[in-house]
């Protein structure tokens, strides 16, 4: 072997490696000092960044103030020195996060928020995308509601909670009661509705009757052992999360209907949906919230009132529905025409076609843009502050109205901004990740 190569011409001496093509130095040269202009850019931007990072580091870490002043004047040290005032957060984080919720009961909204965050995380995992998730959300929402309200749960409340949850339970366990329906054939009612809904309607009717005849019976209740906190005292993060999640949850089915209506063949329905969607999208959210807070009471007949929180919630739902409708419409438009035609040729009715063929595909592709719409909506709920609700942003503002903490807006606003950022940023990264995950079938 060696002899053979030795017999051949000796290889020429290897050339020196090209200057700086690998290693960190090469990376720096290539990515930071590529040309004269690029070098100047790097230096200028770099200097600004260093200055900015240093200022923040100096403010928070080197000069951060941890020592609160005496009782009643906690801000004394902070007012004398330069630096991030941690006593402000120690004193006010509860107010910022939970607004005007009674101080001794703050563990309740905290638990509710943790529960909701847990549910959000669970919903993000695709393995959980099953009917169980809907039931879990229902249970979580009920628990969060009980935690937030507390007080006495009347028999009526418990009854309706169970009744509304029953269809979800049935969805998870379809064998439950499905076989029973076929045991009594020939009955016109159960044939049409199925045994489950027959029993459901019968129970509901019975209960309404009892409710009307003997309100004392249904009004009797079960004490949760928690102090009752009316929703006028709610505030902070639970309010922001509640408004945005309930808003989207209710607006979503509405949005689907609007999107279907906009693509309907019936001109009257199409016109109504287009006018609604374009009207809502054409005006700022604030005007809708003003409408909700000022005009809704006028819309109702004399003597009927709905509380402020509910009014804002209704306004937000009306707003979100129009935007969600446009996202869903995008999904609907992306479904190839063949799918519609195939469904038609199978003899499916409009609703069967929509429910079984079109929507499952359309909603699937619209999930990433839906998450983006939700992020926008989550940020937009901060506008309820203008009609006087105490959401997370307003929590940050009430903390500043405390006489001793007046003027500590950098501390307050950075805290609030970080919470919003954490939610929105993780959601937007999630939506990007999801897009990549769901595209695997199509992209090469």
């Amino acid at each position: 072997m060696t002899d053979q190569t030795a017999g051949a011409a000796t290889p020429p001496p290897s050339r020196p490696p090209p200057g700086l093509s690998v290693g960190p130095l090469a990376w720096i040269k290539h990515n930071l000092f590529n040309s004269v202009l690029s070098s100047i850019g790097t230096l200028v931007v770099g200097a600004v960044i260093v200055w900015l990072v240093w200022t923040v580091f100096d403010w928070i870490v080197l000069n951060g103030i941890w020592e609160a002043g005496p009782e009643g004047e906690e801000s004394a040290t902070c007012r004398q020195q330069y630096g991030y005032c941690f006593p402000f957060l120690q004193d006010m984080w509860g107010t910022i996060l939970f607004g005007t919720y009674p101080g001794s009961e703050r563990w309740r909204p905290a638990m509710a928020v943790l529960l909701i965050i847990l549910m959000l995380v669970m919903s993000a995992l695709r393995v959980n995308w099953r009917p169980h998730l809907l039931l879990a959300w229902y249970v979580a929402a009920v628990l969060a509601g009980i935690l937030m309200f507390g007080g006495v749960l009347s028999l009526a409340t418990i009854f309706w909670i169970v009744m509304l949850g029953a269809p979800l339970v049935r969805r998870v366990m379809p064998e439950l009661g499905s076989g029973v329906g076929q045991e009594i054939p020939g009955n016109p009612v159960t044939d049409r509705l199925g045994l489950f809904w027959t029993v459901w309607l019968a129970l509901a009717a019975l209960f309404v009757a009892v409710d009307l005849l003997a309100p004392a019976v249904t009004g009797a209740g079960f004490d949760t052992g928690l102090r009752y906190v009316p929703n006028t005292q709610w505030g902070g993060l639970p309010l922001t999360l509640g408004l945005s999640l309930i808003g989207c949850g209710v607006a979503f089915p509405l949005g689907i209907l609007l999107a279907l209506g906009r693509r309907s063949n019936m001109p009257a329905i199409r016109v109504i949906c287009v006018v609604y969607i374009e009207f809502i999208r054409g005006v700022p959210l604030i005007t809708i919230l003003f409408m909700a807070s000022v005009l809704f009471p006028l819309f109702l007949p004399e003597g009927v009132t709905i509380d402020k929180l509910l009014r804002a919630q209704v306004g937000l739902i009306l707003f979100a529905a129009a935007y969600l409708a446009e996202v869903v419409r995008g999904g609907l438009q992306a479904i190839p025409k063949g799918q519609y035609e195939a469904a038609d040729s199978l003899g499916l009715t409009y609703w069967q076609k929509t429910r079984l063929i079109i929507l499952p595909q359309a909603l699937r592709i619209s999930i990433p843009p839906l998450v983006n719409t939700f992020i926008g909506f989550f940020k937009d709920t901060s506008l309820v502050i203008i009609i006087g609700l105490f959401d997370l942003l307003n929590g940050g503002r009430i903390a500043l109205t405390e006489p001793i903490w007046r003027g500590f807006y950098p501390e307050s606003y950075t805290f609030v901004a970080l919470i919003y950022f954490a939610f929105c940023f993780s959601l937007s990264k999630y939506s990007q990740w999801l897009e990549g995950q769901m595209n695997t079938g199509h992209s090469r």
Partner: protein
């Protein structure tokens, strides 16, 4: 004949199974429901208002407003009518909207291009900017800007005085006071000169295109345009005696000025500054993303093909890449402009007297909720419809002509 009719009668389904009949039936049901719902709601409004003793209609617009508006470009006082107050609000919305759109476009384009920079640091900084700005509610950003100006800027009456910029502009917690040219009739004529120059440039471009089609020679249009645009007003200025007086603001405590306030110059209020900064920086984050994806969407082959034709780098960008990128960029950008104008309604939270803010004051004073809200909704609707009409026109204008 008889047999035929019988046949078609058999194949025709019963009327309640005929899809067309069903469609008409459902449409009628829905329309009746919607109309009845609106009828009920509006009926309630009228009834409730009669109980409160509030007259319906827009007559209140002619009554005296009785409130002051802190900034206005047309003359306005408390003795003017509500109608004029609304007009002031509309104009204020337009001003902040127009300036915000210009600033957001500039910042957004720079940031969008910076995100594509080969320089790692610049690309990262731009993407950090976009992520931060897009993930924090605009209202919070407005509060921050407002607080920065009103609480962290120096009080001009204090020891140190306002932050002076070369003695011709001052930054303080009362906003930005800057030297302004003293009004002179010459400026009107200079404005006219600019308009004439723009018209001239349009004709010049037409001529240049014709010339190029005929001879293949390209006139240096850009150079001529600049000469026209700068030269004409300059000539007017020189001819009219070169008015050079500047109205320089004097800070409080200045020997020639007032002890308490700025004298002279033009003042940009803290509310306007906060709203303008907040809106343009927020919207720029979204525009940056649009610009970036628009540029990325033009295939690299287009650049290569254009270079292969022998075009210079600048021409490649101007004649090949940009027209294609713009086709993708413009529609979503217009909807961002629309968002910016709609978001300017957040002015009410920091006290800039825009349309909604003025409308809200009117509403509280007169109780004419339905009228006030319908008025400002109508204005926003007109703006959005106008912008979408423009967008549709533009889209058809630049649409690819395919065979």
């Amino acid at each position: 004949m008889a047999i035929q009719t019988q046949d078609s009668a058999q194949t025709r389904a019963a009327i309640w199974n005929d899809p067309r009949a069903r469609a008409i039936f459902w449409q009628i049901v829905v329309v009746i429901l919607v109309v009845a719902g609106l009828w009920y709601l509006i009926g309630n409004v009228i009834e409730n208002r009669n109980d409160q003793g509030i007259a319906s209609g827009y007559g209140f617009l002619e009554r005296e407003a009785g409130f002051e508006i802190s900034e206005s470009i047309i003359s306005y006082g408390a003795a003017n009518t509500y109608g004029r107050a609304f007009l002031v609000g509309i104009l204020n919305t337009f001003i902040v909207g127009a300036l915000g759109i210009v600033a957001a476009t500039i910042i957004g384009t720079i940031m969008g291009i910076a995100r594509l920079s080969k320089n790692w640091l610049i690309a990262k900084v731009a993407s950090a900017y976009v992520e931060t700005v897009r993930n924090i509610p605009l209202l919070l950003q407005l509060f921050v800007w407002y607080a920065v100006i009103t609480e962290s800027m120096p009080n001009p009456q204090d020891e140190g005085g306002p932050l002076s910029i070369l003695g011709i502009a001052y930054l303080s917690n009362r906003g930005f006071d800057i030297a302004a040219p003293v009004p002179d009739p010459a400026f009107v004529w200079m404005g006219v000169a600019v308009v004439i120059a723009v018209i001239g440039i349009i004709f010049l471009r037409r001529y240049a295109e014709k010339q190029q089609a005929a001879t293949g020679e390209r006139l240096p249009v850009l150079l001529y345009s600049l000469v026209l645009l700068i030269g004409l007003p300059l000539i007017v200025w020189l001819v009219s005696g070169m008015p050079t007086d500047w109205d320089v603001p004097l800070p409080p405590g200045h020997p020639d000025g007032n002890r308490f306030r700025f004298v002279g110059g033009a003042n940009v209020s803290p509310e306007f500054m906060a709203l303008f900064l907040g809106l343009s920086i927020y919207t720029a984050g979204f525009i940056a993303e649009i610009v970036r994806s628009g540029i990325q969407a033009v295939p690299w082959g287009q650049t290569e093909a254009a270079s292969a034709l022998g075009l210079r780098r600048g021409l490649v960008l101007r004649l090949v890449v940009l027209p294609q990128a713009l086709r993708i960029i413009i529609p979503p950008t217009t909807s961002q402009y629309l968002n910016l104008v709609k978001n300017s309604s957040l002015a009410v939270a920091i006290g800039y007297p825009d349309l909604v803010s003025v409308g809200n004051t009117t509403l509280n004073q007169t109780g004419q909720a339905l009228e006030a809200i319908s008025l400002f909704m109508a204005v926003y609707l007109i703006i959005s419809l106008a912008i979408s009409a423009f967008m549709n026109w533009y889209n058809t204008h630049i649409k690819l002509v395919e065979r």
